[in-house]
Amino acid sequence: MERVVKVRGRIIPIRRSNIDTDQIIPAHWMKRVERSGYQDGLFENWRTDPEFVLNDANRAGATVLLAGENFGCGSSREHAVWALRDYRIQAVIAPSIADIHRGNLPQEGLVPVELDKSYVDRLFEVAEEDPEVDVQIDILHRTLTCASANLFDKEFHLDDASHFTLVNGLDPIDQTLLLKNEILSYESHRNPWLPMIG
């Protein structure tokens, strides 16, 4: 895993709340057994509408998704993150991001940015107006800057586990395996009736 300490990019604004993972990537994409190649599934149903923001040529290459409350609710599918990643999205900014999805984003180096709603609204205003507006996200300090929206070093919420994953870039499994002895000792006193399969 690579360290992610800063993200800078132009914005794709989707002014909708409760964007669920079925919209981010429809279920039929989950039939694949690969881990990449999901970019065409991203918002597949909405992209059939020529007016949808992802079809705006002026937004090509933008890497920061801006959305309404409760982004990523619904199914736990990590395919939603793979679709965002394969489309080259690096960060998602929203007033709130659903729990499971928020935990999934950093697994692929994407930054879940939970920002005060009033600031998100300001970002929407400038980003919808001008596709060139860009935003800088400092993961280390958990701050965001967007000069066009007159936002400078605004703090955002990023939970400690995600922060740790992003800024250290360590493989979480390797990290846990360092605690082999602690795990063994826990296992030696589990309740005797707990189910075992087979």
């Binding site: 709340s17 409760n70 619904g74 736990s76 990590e78 935990g103 740790f164 009736w193 189910p195 399969i197």
Partner: protein, 473 residues
């Protein structure tokens, strides 16, 4: 020394804690469940990196999302589904994990077979790459959905690193009205808390209206806890829980049962203990509910009017209502009982258990599905199917014009070929009415098994009580 008073969630969390650091708590995971959709990439990484599955005996796999449910042993809908099913078989045998494969005796939806086999027990930590893992919370377990990277982490270490969620108690007050099922309670709770109102929390459901539910009903309720945005929901174990578990295949036996049941008896939240937030919800006299929109919080009592967007106080809800009504092709102030329907789906991990099927059959008995309505009954597991057939439920359904199918997720997610055609309205006992959830362009109305069956007969959204009224004339 006096023991610290803790709530149920904290008790389970702390008894599974191995390590804490800046990146969160490391929890031991007692059981991981697998479906064929969200785990292939995790197994593949384990293999590619030369790692081991730490505890294959704490893993249980089934195929459910892609499994065709038509008569006989049909082939999967397409090559991709067939590949996914084949890859799962190969991976489970490589790593020594028990798989209840397609059409096998023990097959079924993950969240139906775990409880049926007695694998789901109080006090456990249970995970699965599926958000409706919350279902298992009905037994007083901390059970939640995880992403594929986390599936891999649990495979390799039998642990997970997590930020500790906040705790919430949701206490139900009052006595639900006659004809209101656990599903109606769930929809009413989600309407109150809002789609997102539980975000960041683990919920303990409390109150007499919860205690009075059967295990099946509790599973329905916990299953839908996730639709509030919560990590999961759970209910403290009691006599109902123990009675359900006793004698199940994987439940403890003999002396171990005595030990376990004594332990479970003490597991509930201590008296007067605090939660990070506490909510009371009045469910007194609630009636059967149905959704009109595209998230599960957008519901009203069956027979009421589809709301005017302007009736919502927040801009967010108003916008969501406008978008939803456009997608659903509905006008505000339409009476829900006037919405004609094309498809009825009775099944899923929310309402595909024996009790659900029996309740629907009770309504279907001696009646006929309305012309032009396709009605499917899909049991949640092979065991459920066999039990239902032993009771003669299959015959009741078939005689009434319902299709009696084989187990699987089926029309809940529309991955196996069972889909609602674009633009058609379905009444579904599943858990999500998102845009396109039951197939591109599908328009889903969530409801209880009783309401779904009555709607199939009436050809429009209809409660069981209303159906009998009409027939009385």
């Amino acid at each position: 020394m006096k023991k610290r008073r803790l709530n149920l969630i904290d008790k389970i969390w702390e008894s599974h804690l191995i390590d804490s650091n800046a990146s969160g708590d490391l929890l031991y995971i007692d059981m991981q469940l697998f479906n064929e959709v969200t785990s292939p990439q995790a197994f593949e990484n384990i293999r590619a990196k030369g790692r081991q599955v730490r505890r294959p005996e704490l893993c249980l796999a089934t195929a459910d999302h892609d499994v065709p449910t038509g008569p006989g042993h049909p082939v999967p809908i397409d090559d991709v589904a067939a590949t996914q099913i084949a890859v799962q078989k190969e991976q489970c045998s490589r790593f020594g994990i028990e798989l209840h494969s397609m059409f096998s005796r023990g097959n079924g939806i993950t969240h139906v077979i775990g409880p049926e086999k007695g694998v789901t027990q109080p006090g456990m930590t249970i995970v699965c790459g599926d958000s409706h893992t919350a279902t298992h919370g009905a037994f007083g377990a901390v059970a939640f959905g995880i992403g594929t990277s986390q599936v891999e982490h649990v495979l390799a270490t039998q642990t997970l690193r997590l930020s500790r969620p906040k705790t919430m108690s949701v206490t139900l007050k009052g006595v639900p009205g006659k004809g209101a099922s656990a599903k109606d309670l769930a929809l009413a709770i989600i309407a109150k808390l809002g789609h997102g109102g539980g975000t960041g929390h683990l919920i303990e459901f409390r109150g007499d209206a919860v205690r009075n539910l059967s295990m099946e009903g509790r599973m329905t309720l916990c299953n839908m806890a996730i639709e509030t945005g919560a990590r999961s929901g759970l209910i403290a174990p009691d006599e109902t829980t123990l009675a359900y578990l006793k004698g199940k295949e994987c439940a403890p036996k003999g002396e171990l049962w005595e030990l376990a049941s004594a332990f479970w008896g003490d597991l509930g939240s201590d008296d007067g203990v605090n939660f990070d937030s506490e909510v009371e919800i009045d469910v007194d006299g609630i009636r059967p509910m149905v959704t009109w929109g595209t998230n599960p919080s957008q519901s009203v009592p069956v027979g009421s009017l589809v709301p005017e967007p302007s009736s919502f106080s927040s801009a967010r809800e108003r916008d969501a209502a406008v978008t939803a009504l456009r997608y659903m092709g509905l006008r505000p102030s339409t009476r829900t009982s006037e919405i004609p329907i094309n498809v009825v789906f009775i099944g899923s991990c929310t309402n595909g258990r024996l009790e659900d099927l029996a309740a629907a059959a009770e309504i279907a008995k001696g009646r006929k599905v309305a012309d032009g309505v396709r009605a499917l009954v899909v049991p949640g597991s092979q065991d459920t199917k066999a039990a239902a057939e032993a009771m003669g439920l299959d015959e009741i359904f078939i005689r009434s014009g319902f299709e009696w199918r084989s187990p699987g997720c089926s029309m809940c997610v529309g991955m196996n070929g069972d889909v609602v055609p674009a633009g058609q309205h379905s009444v579904s006992t599943s858990n999500r009415n998102f845009e396109g959830r039951q197939g591109a362009g599908s328009r889903t109305h969530l409801a209880s098994p009783e309401t779904a069956a009555a709607s199939a007969i009436a050809g429009r959204i209809c409660s069981a009580a209303e159906l009998s009224e009409i027939e009385k004339g």
